[in-house]
């Protein structure tokens, strides 16, 4: 189900906790599983977590599948729905909104031709609204694929960024 490389990474997570508390590694393990699916998945459906992957991770950690499912559905960075190759999350919380966050989201929406929460028909982009990313001073901010944070996203900066994300 997962590559040897991912399993090695999960083993590293597991090693951080006492041997009889493997369940502590569930967040890291799900993150690694999602990362592998995002980087190898060819379609939006193959880039998100699904029942089989969650069950695999749970069995690997020797915890009940529903316990891993609880975690996967609790945190919104675990993609449980089909997602584009580039998941763009724009912060629209109040401080960002005051400094153009909403405008940035609308600009991207217009540019990609998708509404917030949608995935483009070619499966390249998913646009989401996000909660505070702790960088209000850099607003507007957006997050690409959970990991890469982009600050001061004016329309020009967005054009440049989208040009990179091909």
């Amino acid at each position: 189900m997962l590559s040897a490389q991912s399993l090695a990474l999960i083993d590293r997570e597991v090693a951080k906790y006492p041997a009889d508390q493997k369940r502590s590694a569930v967040m890291g393990a799900l993150r690694i599983a999602l990362e592998e699916r995002r980087s190898t998945g060819e379609t939006p459906e193959a880039r998100c977590l699904n029942q089989e992957v969650i069950e695999f991770v749970a069995n690997y950690l020797e915890i009940p599948p529903v316990a891993a499912y609880e975690v996967a559905t609790f945190y919104n960075m675990y993609d449980m729905k089909p997602v584009g190759k580039y998941k763009i999350t724009v912060c629209t919380n109040l401080p960002c909104a005051l400094r153009g966050g909403v405008n940035a989201a609308e600009y991207i929406s217009h540019k990609l031709g998708i509404a917030i929460g949608e995935t483009s028909s070619d499966g390249m982009y998913t646009l989401l609204e996000g909660e505070c990313m702790g960088a209000c001073g850099d607003a507007p901010v957006l997050l690409v694929n959970n990991h890469s944070m982009c600050s001061f996203m004016t329309s020009e900066a967005i054009d440049k960024k989208l040009a990179e994300l091909k």
């Binding site: 029942q51 069950e55 009940p64 599948p65 529903v66 316990a67 499912y69 609880e70 559905t73 609790f74």
Partner: protein
């Protein structure tokens, strides 16, 4: 000890108590939903908010530890306002569909809303809707919008059930309770979540919408299934059992019951119930009146005894019968001159009979077993044989007890094991002997059993160290050990281990009244309370050397016997088979000649003696169905008609007084054998069967409980074996093969199973698809399908 004042009442409580504990100890009720005394503290419903002096805000009583000098007000303005506020929030998303809700009338939310809420709602907006879930045939989760997210069900499956089968997915407004996608809730004690659910979200699938809670009368009873003797509340309407709930008894079942206890009542109302006596003439069954049927029975018994002698008659009684029934059955048989009486149909080794000095029992109370610091369970498919006891042992492990297992399969016990030895049934004696040898070495003792041929494995050493090192320890033999062809040797070894290590030892009684049957002499070698009797044949001998007539009390030999093949053949060869039964069973219709309808436990007064030797009496909760009669009355009339004196009882209490008058229970319980012996040679390697009784095939009632039969545990059995066995037979996992024992064979899929030792094929017995086979732990052959 800490001092606390609750609503002006001063009391002292031990360190670590919560405000909720303290309030309960003085009888002050604090409203709550998520709190449950047997579950961990979640403090997520917030209903138990109380005012604590010097605290700025109300605090949850269930999660607030008592501090010295604390002053708590449960009914102050602050507390009342907090409780009313919480109630308003809980009701925001609750559908308020009480009139069509199955929980209506016995709903904690309904009751507390009346007691602590406001009379009208201020909430005008839309309520959230949660789609129903499929949790299997027992628990209904159709109306999950009613859920208030107390997570009692989640905590129950995780903490008591041992495996978290239910979880709470998503968060905040989108949270919902669900089993893992596509899975059902399969725990053998899952029905308890219905009792735990404080609202109508989880309800009983077989019971729902059949009647209203206030139309039911509550009657006490005792579970007729496993040897635990769980206390029940049987709820009745219109002379029909509608539902079964647990009756709390901390010493036996705590506040739980197994699904078998809870849902088996459907069997009592099944269409297969025998309502009139029936007689077979020329291969056809005819209904008859009682007089005719009893005359037929008397004629048959007299005929066989005249033509072939009294020894040609055998009595096979089920240990699910009441003590009074078993007492009368053996009294009738022996007074008539028949010494062949036995209740141990699934036993295959009777060599211990000669050395037995009392009734076999648990060897301690259930509470003592659960609080022992070290327990060794030998040959027990625990979760199938004793679902509640298995759960109790899991709780014991959490409290620091060491659980050791010697078994024929590495079953998931959902708990941490100190040590385990998983061996073929042929090596079971040797495995236990290893432990004995290690105990002998640790204690520098001596054993009467020759252990020279035994080499101690590391796991056996660990088991021995655990037993010898613990301040209290128990060795118990489960059903697999009791049905095993070397039971007497296993019992001998357990006795020696117990003697040397200071542990207690005993057997986990297979059925509700196994101990009762031992006590009242439903065995061929001992009479009531061990009175001397002229010995008769045991169950195995009665089958091996077929009798001319059999009297069956609650027995269906094709499901209840060690070797169904031989048992059915013996029945078919008999001149007459007289069955006292509550059910028109297919097997009985085939081989019996007369069926006398008797009342199951719900329709007769009686008693069971559970595994710890506790006598529990009960009354019938409904009238007998149709023309069925309590078996004690049938046996009494048979006694009269056979012209035997001493059968002039007018009530079941008289019968009970008679057997009780012959001795006391406690001194008659004794597992110690007068002499011990065991052949501890490592066994020859051969392919043997591991044929346990499936969870819901153990007795006649649960075999006919339709909802239990729809569970995964009741699925048609599939054979399992280690990969090495499959390789040796040259079959792929999942292939259909022919399994052969004696003259019988069955076609069944054979799957690889890493939890089984080499040399074993595991295929359940006591199932319609496998009764063509032979002994439960006898050799078996695999042939290509």
């Amino acid at each position: 000890m800490l001092e606390i004042e609750i609503d002006g009442k001063k009391l002292t409580v031990p360190q670590g108590s919560t405000v909720m504990d303290a309030a309960h100890s003085v009888g002050t009720y604090i409203p709550h939903f998520c709190y449950h005394k047997k579950l961990s503290i979640a403090a997520n419903c917030r209903m138990c908010l109380v005012e604590v002096e010097k605290a700025p805000k109300p605090l949850p009583a269930c999660a607030t530890p008592v501090t010295d000098g604390m002053k708590v007000h449960t009914h102050s303005d602050m507390a009342k306002k907090a409780q009313a506020g919480v109630m308003e929030f809980l009701l925001i998303n609750h559908p308020l569909d009480c009139p069509i809700c199955d929980q209506g009338g016995e709903c904690q939310l309904q009751d507390l809303a009346v007691g602590y809420g406001n009379s009208a709602s201020r909430y005008q907006e839309e309520k959230r809707v949660v789609v129903g879930k499929d949790m299997g045939p027992l628990v209904s989760a159709e109306e999950m919008s009613r859920c208030i997210h107390c997570t009692r069900c989640v905590r129950f499956t995780e903490e008591i059930g041992g495996f978290q089968e239910i979880g709470m997915a998503n968060r905040s407004e989108f949270s919902e309770i669900l089993p893992f996608l596509g899975k059902t809730v399969d725990s053998e004690i899952s029905g308890n979540v219905i009792d735990l659910c404080p609202v109508g979200a989880l309800t009983s699938k077989p019971f729902r919408y059949s009647t209203r809670a206030w139309e039911l009368s509550r009657r006490k009873s005792v579970s007729p299934h496993d040897g635990l003797g769980a206390n029940l509340i049987v709820q009745v309407k219109g002379n029909q059992v509608m539902r079964v709930l647990p009756l709390e008894n901390e010493e036996i079942n705590e506040c739980w019951i197994a699904d078998r206890d809870r849902f088996s009542y459907e069997g009592l109302n099944s269409a297969e119930r025998l309502q009139k006596p029936m007689i077979k003439h020329d291969g056809k069954w005819h209904e008859a009146d009682w007089q005719t049927a009893l005359e037929y029975v008397v004629k048959g018994l007299n005929g066989v005894s005249r033509d072939h002698g009294k020894d040609a008659i055998g009595v096979l009684a089920s240990p699910h019968s009441t003590t009074e029934e078993l007492f009368l059955a053996q009294k009738l048989a022996r007074s008539f001159g028949v010494n062949n009486v036995d209740y141990r149909l699934r036993r295959s080794d009777f060599r211990a009979d000669a050395a037995q000095q009392g009734a076999l029992w648990l060897g301690s109370s259930i509470v003592d077993l659960a609080s022992a610091k070290s327990v060794l369970v030998v040959g027990s498919t625990q979760r199938q044989e004793q679902p509640l006891l298995a759960s109790r042992l899991r709780q014991a492990v959490k409290k620091g007890s060491e659980l050791n297992v010697i078994h024929v399969a590495d079953d998931a016990l959902l708990t941490k094991l100190n040590a385990k030895l998983i061996v073929s049934p042929l090596a079971l004696v040797n495995a236990l002997a290893q432990v004995l040898k290690a105990v002998v070495a640790i204690k520098s003792g001596e054993s009467a059993i020759d252990l020279a041929a035994v080499s101690v494995s590391a796991e056996a050493q660990r088991i021995a160290e655990s037993l010898c090192g613990a301040e209290s320890a128990s060795v118990v033999l489960g059903n697999v050990a009791q049905h095993h062809p070397a039971f007497s040797e296993l019992l001998s070894l357990a006795q020696e281990i117990a003697r040397l290590s200071g542990a207690r030892f005993g057997v986990l009684a297979e059925a509700a009244n196994s101990v009762g049957a031992e006590l009242v002499g439903a065995v061929p070698t001992r009479g009531v309370f061990g009175a001397a009797v002229s010995a008769g044949l045991d169950a195995q001998q009665m089958i091996a050397a077929p009798r001319k007539a059999y009297v069956l009390l609650n027995s269906e030999v094709e499901f209840d016997s060690y070797n169904p093949q031989a048992a059915v053949a013996a029945m078919k060869s008999a001149e007459t088979v007289i069955a006292l039964t509550a059910f028109k069973a297919e097997g009985l219709l085939d081989y019996a000649d007369v069926l006398l309808p008797i009342a199951p436990f719900s329709e007769t007064a009686g008693s069971f003696v559970n595994m710890e030797g506790r006598l529990q009496t009960f009354n019938g909760v409904v009238r007998p169905l149709g023309e069925a009669r309590p078996a004690w009355k049938v046996l009494r009339v048979l006694g009269n008609m056979l012209g035997i004196s001493g059968f002039e009882y007018t009530s079941v209490e008289e019968v009970r007084a008679e057997w009780q008058g012959k001795g006391d229970i406690a001194p008659s319980l004794n597992n110690v054998l007068a002499s011990v012996s065991a052949n501890v040679q490592p066994a020859a390697t051969a392919l043997v069967r591991v044929g346990e009784v499936p969870l819901y095939q153990a007795d006649a009632i649960c075999r006919r409980a339709s909802s239990l039969q729809a569970t995964r545990a009741a699925a048609v059995p599939v054979a399992h074996a280690a990969q090495s066995v499959l390789d040796a037979a040259g079959v792929q996992s999942g292939a259909v093969v022919v399994l052969k024992q004696g003259d019988g064979q069955v076609r069944v899929a054979l799957e690889a199973d890493a939890t089984l030792p080499a040399g074993v094929v595991r295929l359940a017995t006591a199932h319609p698809t496998t009764i063509a086979l032979g002994g439960m732990f006898d050799p078996i052959e695999i042939k290509q399908g």
